[in-house]
Amino acid sequence: MTEPEMPEQKMNEEEVTEREQRKLAEVLKQSLTSMNRELDRDLWPKMLQRLDQNARQRNWFAVLFSPAALSSVPWFDWALLAVIVVGICIFPRSIPVWLYHF
C-alpha cells in the first residue's frame, strides 16, 4: 500500500520545496534594494556646498591673507605698498605722525 504512494508524496514534497524556494526568492528580491551601477544624482552641487561650508568655517584673517587673495592683488598695488614701506624706512621719524593720523 505504501509503495504506490511514495512517488506521489515525493512529487508533492518537491512541489512544496520549489514553491517555497520561489517564495523565498521573491522575499529576498523585495528585501534587497536594487543596485544601480550608474549614480542617479549629480554630486557636483553637493561638492560645491561642502567647499562653501569649508570656506565659511575658515577664519576671516585666513581668508584675507590667503594665497588666493594675495595673488589677486595687482602689481601696481604691491608697488604702492613698497613705496610706503621705502618712505617709512627713509624717514622713520615720521612714524609717530603716521600713527597719529590712523
Binding site: 584675507l64 598695488d77 618712505g87 615720521s94 609717530p96 605722525v97 597719529y100 593720523h101 590712523f102
Partner: protein
C-alpha cells in the same frame, strides 16, 4: 525686514582703524616710555581713538549711500578721506599743544621736525595708504557684512 545696511556699513568702516588703534597706542607707549619722546599720550590719543574710527564709519556709510548713484571705486573713495582727516588732525594737534608750525616745517611732539616738503610728500603717502586700506581692508569687511 530692515537689515540696517547703514549700521553694517558703519561697523565695517570702523573695524580697520579700531584694530590699528591698538598698534597706535602700543607705539605711543613705547615711544614715550622707551625712547623718551615727549608724546602727551592722553591728548595725542584723542584723534586716533575718538575721531578716526567714527569718521571711517561715517565715510563708509556715505559710500553705501553713493552706491546707487555715480560713485568712485572704494579705494579712491577712501583716498579722499585724508583731505578731511589731515586738516582736522593738524588742527586738533595744534589746539592740544603738541604741533607747532615753524618757518622750516612742522614740529610734532616738540621733538619731530618735518620740513614742509616732507609734509607734502607724507600727504601723498597718506593718500596711497588710505587707498590701499580702503580697497583691501574696508572692502573686505564690507563683503563680510554683506554690503559690498
Amino acid at each position: 525686514m530692515n537689515t540696517h545696511p547703514y549700521l553694517r556699513a558703519y561697523m565695517a568702516g570702523t573695524v580697520a582703524p579700531t584694530m590699528m588703534l591698538l598698534v597706535v597706542l602700543t607705539a605711543f607707549l613705547i615711544a614715550r616710555y622707551t625712547f623718551q619722546i615727549p608724546i602727551p599720550i592722553e591728548r595725542a590719543i584723542i584723534f586716533p581713538m575718538a575721531l578716526v574710527p567714527n569718521i571711517f564709519g561715517a565715510w563708509n556709510m556715505f559710500y553705501l549711500w553713493l552706491r546707487p548713484r555715480p560713485h568712485l571705486p572704494i579705494g579712491l573713495h577712501g583716498a579722499l578721506l585724508p583731505f578731511i582727516l589731515a586738516p582736522t588732525g593738524f588742527a586738533l594737534a595744534e589746539c592740544s599743544g603738541f604741533l607747532s608750525a615753524g618757518s622750516g616745517g612742522l614740529v610734532w611732539f616738540h621733538e619731530v621736525a618735518i620740513p614742509y616738503a616732507f609734509v607734502a610728500l607724507g600727504f601723498s603717502f597718506a593718500l596711497i595708504a588710505y587707498y590701499l586700506v580702503w580697497k583691501y581692508l574696508v572692502g573686505f569687511f564690507n563683503e563680510v557684512l554683506g554690503i559690498a
